[in-house]
């Protein structure tokens, strides 16, 4: 589904990613861990198409297409979704409206008819239950006045409605208390499927207790320094990232 080859990315002239390689197939769940400032958000932002990153070399292929040549909205239509580390507040833009516009834009792109308001609302209500999102959030402005945990929950709710093929969850677990973590993780687990890939960026082993990854990667020094199974996360928890660097 996603193939990243020798990706070099700079921000403001500073090299962040230095030849990163990563392959992700449908149905897989990957966890990316790594020290602060390693470039994890940089990677997810580059995949989602955010401006301000200088891609100096390498390629990103998604379902056979050159992802880097696509606009952010084209990537969304093609099934890429980013749950933001810091979801932005958008006063005056209604949460439900945003999703309806997003879903219909994608459907239009796929040559499908727009959902009518009634069908759309029943989908939305069902998905809100998945992450136990209070229905009052549906009619509020996007993320405005939401607590940190509510914002993260809202991101996963959006993921549920938009039904992406490739979901990148950037530190979705940060800022969640243990109950909220369980609920959000439960929602993500229900969204696992054979034709969907999920990439979780996280600092904490505890998320991986709930959502079991097929692969765990360590992103450091601008590359994927080490890849293993879920036991790698346990070792990281015990020994820290320096241990990875030393063992190489």
């Amino acid at each position: 589904m996603l193939e990243i080859k020798d990706l070099h990315v700079s921000v403001d002239g500073k090299k962040i990613l230095k030849g990163l390689n990563l392959t992700i197939n449908a149905g897989e769940v990957h966890a990316i861990m790594g020290p602060n400032g390693a470039g994890k958000s940089t990677l997810s932002n580059v995949i989602a198409g955010r401006d301000g990153y200088e891609i100096t070399s390498g390629s990103v292929t998604y379902k056979g297409d050159d992802l880097l040549a696509m606009s952010p909205e084209e990537r969304a239509w093609a099934g890429v979704f980013l749950a933001f580390q810091y979801p932005v507040e958008i006063p005056g833009v209604n949460n439900t409206y945003l999703l309806k516009a997003g879903v219909n834009a994608k459907r239009k792109h796929q040559g499908l008819d727009e959902l009518d308001a009634f069908d759309f609302m029943s989908v939305v209500k069902e998905k809100a239950k998945l992450v136990e999102l209070d229905p009052s959030f549906l009619s509020r402005s996007v993320n405005e006045g939401f607590s940190g945990g509510e914002k993260k929950r809202n991101e996963i709710f959006q993921m549920a409605v938009l039904e992406p093929s490739l979901a990148l969850l950037d530190e979705t677990d940060s800022g969640l208390d243990i109950d909220a973590l369980r609920i959000v993780a439960g929602g993500v687990n229900k969204l696992r499927s054979a034709d969907r890939a999920i990439v979780m960026i996280t600092h904490y082993q505890r998320l991986l207790d709930y959502i079991e990854p097929d692969f765990v990667h360590v992103l450091a020094n601008g590359i994927i320094l080490k890849t293993g199974d879920k036991s790698l996360a346990l070792e990281l928890e015990e020994h820290g990232y320096d241990w990875v660097k030393e063992t190489l």
């Binding site: 606009s71 969304a76 979801p87 932005v88 005056g92 833009v93 516009a101 997003g102 402005s141």
Partner: protein, 405 residues
């Protein structure tokens, strides 16, 4: 000579003395009043105007229609038991009194008092509540001078909408003035929607005096005219009074709109809120000057002002100046202005959810402006303004779908 004639002559003398504002006048630094010097003559003959189909047709409201500044009896529909009359019917000299040293008073205002031909004199008795909005539609195709007076008795309540439309291509000036007194506990929601034609200019003064615990909500919407200037002067004269001033400009072409607002906190425990937003395209130019004066005895004053501006074109210009003068310590004031393009992070967020770049820009622009309109209590008025405002935006045609909640 009758008192009223004396008062009008005094106003004329005042105009002759102070003349039109000049660019040397600090309050007129950015707005060229000399452009209007040729538009002061009032013709005796009233041109015909076809006002059919104009204005907010589906608004359930009492109506007064002014054609070229003259009350049109046939098109008006008034509530029963409320004293609403043409200015010409009541010879009350107080309605024409001006004071040369009132804040922001200028030559246009003096001329208005001296020469106003008509207006609405609205007087709500104590405890009376208008069960429907009062919609005052002004349609013109020549110079006009209008002078309204509104007095709300104790605990009276009303929602009054002034709407200005012009037809025809001739250059002309509307000089409009509204003087308001709110007695104890009265509440007035007052909209002024300026939607005059391209060749038109508009000069207005709104002066509000608030007594104890009264509240005043203003919505100033600027969509039309080539040049429009409003002076909004609110005096919080007794304890517990509060005002909420909202302004929305959506401008394009070479439109020039200037609002100078002045709030005087005279009494203690008064609250003022001010939210002005402008969206400027092409070579349009907006001026916002919001001055709040907290007087010596006005302890426990609570004042917030914010002015946000979005420039859609690099040739558009905003001059904004929130001003605060405080003469005691026991106050809570927060004032600020921002100028910018749309927020990149918000744009990316929307696009990452599948909204196209153009639609995301429109949506954010819409949301930015619509926050000002959220305070409008009448949804028909709000939808009308939303629609008319967004028809002016670059991709406004597609925006219908965005308007619903």
């Amino acid at each position: 000579m009758k008192l009223i004639q004396t008062v009008k002559q005094d106003a004329l003398a005042c105009f002759e003395k102070i003349g039109l504002p000049s660019k040397r006048d600090e309050d007129w630094k950015y707005t060229d009043a000399s452009r209007l010097a040729g538009l002061l003559e009032m013709s005796d003959a009233n041109k015909k105007v076809d006002s059919n189909g104009l204005g907010m047709l589906d608004l359930d409201a009492y109506r007064i229609v002014f054609i070229n500044g003259v009350w049109d009896e046939k098109q008006s529909n008034l509530p029963k038991g409320v004293a609403i009359q043409s200015l010409t019917a009541i010879n009350d000299s107080k309605l024409f009194q001006i004071s040369a040293d009132a804040p922001l008073l200028n030559g246009f205002n003096a001329l208005n008092a001296a020469k106003a031909r008509d207006g609405a004199a609205i007087c709500l008795a104590d405890n009376s509540v208008l069960d429907k909005p009062l919609y005052i539609l002004h349609v013109s195709n020549q110079n006009q001078i209008i002078r309204h007076g509104m007095m709300l008795g104790k605990h009276a309540q009303a929602n009054i909408i002034e709407h200005f439309i012009s037809v025809g291509e001739d250059k002309a000036l509307s000089n409009a003035s509204t003087a308001i007194i709110l007695k104890a506990g009265a509440h007035l929601e007052h909209s002024r929607i300026q939607q005059e034609g391209k060749a038109q200019s508009h000069v207005a003064r709104v002066e509000v005096k608030q007594l104890r615990d009264s509240s005043y909500t203003f919505h100033g919407v600027e969509l039309g005219a080539s040049l429009s200037r409003t002076d909004l002067v609110v005096s919080l004269s007794e304890q517990g009074a509060s005002c909420d001033l909202n302004g929305l400009f959506v401008l394009g072409g070479r439109q020039h709109v200037d609002h100078h607002t002045r709030i005087d906190h005279i009494a203690p425990h008064c609250t003022s809120r001010e939210l002005y937003r402008t969206i400027l395209d092409d070579r349009s130019h907006a001026v916002f000057n919001g001055k709040v004066m907290v007087h010596k005895g006005a302890i426990k004053t609570d004042s917030k002002m914010s002015n946000g501006n979005v420039l859609l074109s690099k040739h558009a210009e905003i001059d904004t100046k929130p001003e605060l003068e405080i003469y005691n310590d026991d106050v809570k004031c927060a004032h600020g202005a921002t100028v910018g393009q749309l927020d990149d992070q918000q744009l990316f967020y929307l696009r990452s959810r599948g909204i196209s770049e153009a639609a995301a820009q429109e949506l954010l622009t819409f949301a930015f402006a619509d926050e000002v309109l959220a305070a409008m209590s009448n949804q028909v008025v709000r939808s009308y303004v939303e629609k008319e405002a967004f028809a002016k935006l670059p991709h406004g045609d597609d925006l219908e779908g965005l308007l619903g909640e």
